[in-house]
């Protein structure tokens, strides 16, 4: 079946990219100045203790051995982790090692912070798509009118505004001046809807929903604005492009009403290419999430990454980078498959 073959091919490419990611991440640590062991050891520690710690971390081994252990560790850890998830047991280390600063396993620390980032990313994407597609369509179909100019200016400002500044200004205006929204961190008490959903406590998630929504509004707007602006521009220019094509004139020649031509024919063909661009731009979304978490002290993977970089906690940095990139690769495979499913022209072979 050609879908299966397409998936295998894409998965193979995905594995290659993940291997590339792991190699780059490992390379980053190797070229980093300073001795990784110093993070654990005070400067005036006596040599034997330093020897012992270096041996424990396996830093004394030749580089290729360290690399080999690192890669095989992950290669074994991830499938084992997946198996555990399926069986409902704790996920285990995934071969990502333990954090130097907290001593806990990297995988569990990343696992705990991932849902918060996902919440942000998904909310931003949902907000973006709900607003951007109709806005793009309206501005494409009635050109040189009010909504068209409005949408163009909004989308232009949207892609030109650094999201951290937008976040800061939203806090200043909406939280400080008019205190409509909480100023910062998702309070510990506020339930992470994702954690609850994952844990299956639907009822708890239900009544905690409103407070969660109240907390997530500003971060979601901050993160979603660039994305909304981008998709508005793409929808508008994609729509204008399609409207110029011969099959539109042929459809009108058939006597089809303009609204049918515009929505059933043109809009569908406009949305198909946007899927790939959205996939490509997800990287920007995750990047934006890292900054938004910094601005709003949102306890996501971005926070973990920045803190671990500042504290030189290498295993944590490696773990977060790998999880972010692998997640991104998986999402891209899903997006590609979706694109091929929706677009009959592109077969699976």
């Amino acid at each position: 079946m050609s879908l299966a073959r397409f998936l295998i091919k894409r998965l193979l490419q995905g594995v290659f990219v993940v291997w590339g990611v792991i190699t780059i991440v490992f390379g980053l640590r190797v070229i980093a100045p300073g001795d990784p062991a110093n993070v654990l050891l005070p400067p005036d520690v006596n040599p034997e203790v330093r020897q012992q710690v270096v041996a424990d971390l396996g830093l004394n081994e030749p580089l290729y051995v360290q690399y080999w252990d690192f890669v095989t560790g992950i290669a074994a850890g991830v499938p084992e982790g997946l198996y555990n998830i399926v069986m409902g047991q704790p996920v285990g280390g995934l071969g990502l090692g333990t954090s130097l600063t907290t001593g806990t396993s990297v995988a569990s620390r990343v696992g705990r912070s991932l849902p918060a980032t996902l919440e942000l990313a998904i909310m931003a994407t949902v907000v973006a798509i709900i607003i951007a597609i109709p806005l793009g369509v309206v501005s494409a179909t009635n050109r040189h009118s009010g909504p068209d100019y409005g949408a163009t200016l909004f989308s232009l400002a949207g892609i030109s505004t650094p999201n951290f500044w937008l976040g800061v200004m939203l806090i200043i205006v909406l939280s400080v001046q008019f205190n409509l929204f909480p100023t910062s961190q998702r309070a510990i008490g506020v339930p992470g809807i994702f954690d609850l959903l994952l844990a299956g406590q639907l009822e708890a998630a239900g009544d905690g929903f409103l407070t969660w929504l109240w907390y997530i509004t500003l971060p979601a707007i901050t993160l979603g604005t660039y994305f909304t602006a981008l998709i508005t521009r793409l929808t508008r220019s994609g729509m204008l492009d399609e409207l110029g094509k011969t099959y539109v004139r042929a459809s009108r020649a058939k006597g089809l009403p303009e609204s049918l031509v515009r929505y059933k024919h043109v809009l569908r063909n406009t949305l198909i290419p946007i899927i790939t661009v959205v996939g490509l731009q997800l990287g920007t979304l995750v990047g934006g999430a890292v900054i938004t978490e910094f601005v709003f002290d949102w306890p996501g993977l971005g926070q973990v990454l920045i803190n671990s970089i500042n504290s030189r906690d290498w295993p944590m940095v490696q773990g977060s980078l790998i999880v972010i990139s692998v997640g991104f690769v998986v999402v891209n495979i899903v997006v590609d498959t979706l694109y091929t499913l929706v677009n009959p022209r592109v077969g699976f072979d």
């Binding site: 459809s251 020649a253 058939k254 569908r268 063909n269 949305l271």
Partner: protein, 398 residues
């Protein structure tokens, strides 16, 4: 507005004028073109690229979109019901059974596309929506007519009872609500009538799974969905190979004869014109420069451009003679640069002083219905009063 016309005229186009307002300036694509289409006839419109032949067809059925615009002329269609309906509302748009479509509201003109007019295009692959099956797109054409005949009033409604919300939902999820089962069955029938083998399976396939020839047949099927009175065919076989072209021309001939439909065949290939058309119009620089029966135009070409065209075609049955090409280039139709003399004068071997004012369409002597927009139609070539080459040297010619 009374004018002479052949008693079984179906469509009379008079002084049709279309302008394109581009950055380079106003392009006079169609310049007061007049022609008529009779019942059960194939009318040929021949011309080289840039002559305005396609724009003429698009203007007649109101498919010119911005930056183009039909700025003048009348399109009279013989339709007793329509005449009755609008005799009261806009009396001067009605003359006997004829109605001037240009004076009717846009919604009415759109509702005529399908039942009265339909059009097929040059490149079949780009004339179908690539992400919908061929059967679905033909069924759509049938459905429009089915809904129109069900309640005529709604033909001019914006969505024909197919709500905007539904449309939006349908644009994401490829639903089939708009087309009913009957119209899908009719679509399969139409595919069969145009000679596409195993039509039931082919209806479920997408345009890119069809060959050029097969997809052109599907486009003809789609055009027949509304049982049109006049089928405009804009270079239908230009993109096809000669053996496939022959099949499509035969198909058009059979369909025209079986259904007694009129066809306006637009092409640059004089061979196709000779094989298919009863009457011919030759277009140059946005104007019809010669019009008449096939015999009249082919055997006694009056306008020097028609003579030049016939002289510059290699003959597959007779290789010998050296070709006599028409020197120079086609004018670019930008209004500011168009001289008010005969547009062909700078390339015409028989240009005379009298060609310096814009020629009118004149009847050719002794030839009923054979006209030419040239002084030679009813005058003789007089070498003394000829214009020599230098007269037009100013231009950036060869």
């Amino acid at each position: 507005m009374s004018h002479t016309g052949h008693r079984d005229d179906l469509l009379r186009v008079e002084d049709l004028t279309t302008r394109f307002y581009t950055e380079e300036g106003q392009v006079n694509a169609v310049e007061s073109v007049s022609f008529d289409v009779r019942d059960n006839e194939i009318l040929g419109i021949v011309g080289e690229s840039g002559s305005g032949k396609s724009v003429t067809a698009l203007s007649a059925i109101d498919l010119v979109d911005s930056p183009g615009e039909v700025t003048g002329g009348e399109v009279w269609l013989r339709d007793a019901e329509l005449a009755e309906e609008f005799r009261g509302e806009s009396p001067d748009a009605v003359d006997g059974d004829f109605v001037d479509l240009r004076q009717l509201p846009k919604g009415v003109r759109r509702s005529l596309r399908g039942p009265k007019f339909s059009m097929i295009f040059q490149d079949p692959m780009s004339s179908f929506n690539p992400s919908l099956t061929v059967g679905e797109q033909i069924a759509e054409a049938v459905e429009v007519q089915r809904r129109a005949s069900a309640n005529p009033r709604s033909t001019r409604s914006r969505t024909q009872g197919y709500g905007l919300g539904k449309l939006l939902f349908d644009s994401v999820v490829p639903g089939r609500e708009y087309t009913s089962d009957e119209s899908r069955e009719r679509a399969v029938e139409l595919l069969d009538q145009v000679g596409i083998p195993d039509p039931v399976e082919r209806a479920e396939e997408y345009p890119h799974q069809f060959s050029g020839g097969m997809l052109q047949r599907a486009m003809v099927a789609q055009a027949l969905a509304g049982e049109p009175d006049v089928l405009f065919a804009d270079e239908p076989t230009t993109a096809l190979d000669v053996t496939i072209q022959a099949q499509i021309l035969d198909l058009l001939r059979d369909i025209q004869q079986d259904r007694g439909m009129s066809v306006v065949l637009i092409t640059h290939d004089l061979g196709v014109i000779a094989r298919m058309c009863d009457r011919v119009g030759v277009m140059y620089a946005g104007e019809i420069v010669e019009r008449g029966s096939l015999e009249a135009v082919f055997d006694e070409p009056t306008h020097p451009y028609t003579q030049g065209l016939l002289g510059s075609i290699p003959d597959v049955d007779d290789p010998a003679p050296r070709l006599e090409p028409i020197e120079g280039n086609v004018p670019n139709l930008i209004d500011s640069e168009m001289p008010d003399r005969c547009y062909f004068a700078d390339r015409c071997p028989k240009a005379m002083e009298s060609c310096l004012e814009h020629p009118e369409e004149r009847a050719v002597e002794g030839e009923q219905g054979h006209t030419a927009r040239c002084v030679l139609a009813d005058g003789e070539y007089d070498p003394e009063r000829a214009l020599d080459e230098s007269h037009f040297e100013g231009g950036d010619g060869e």
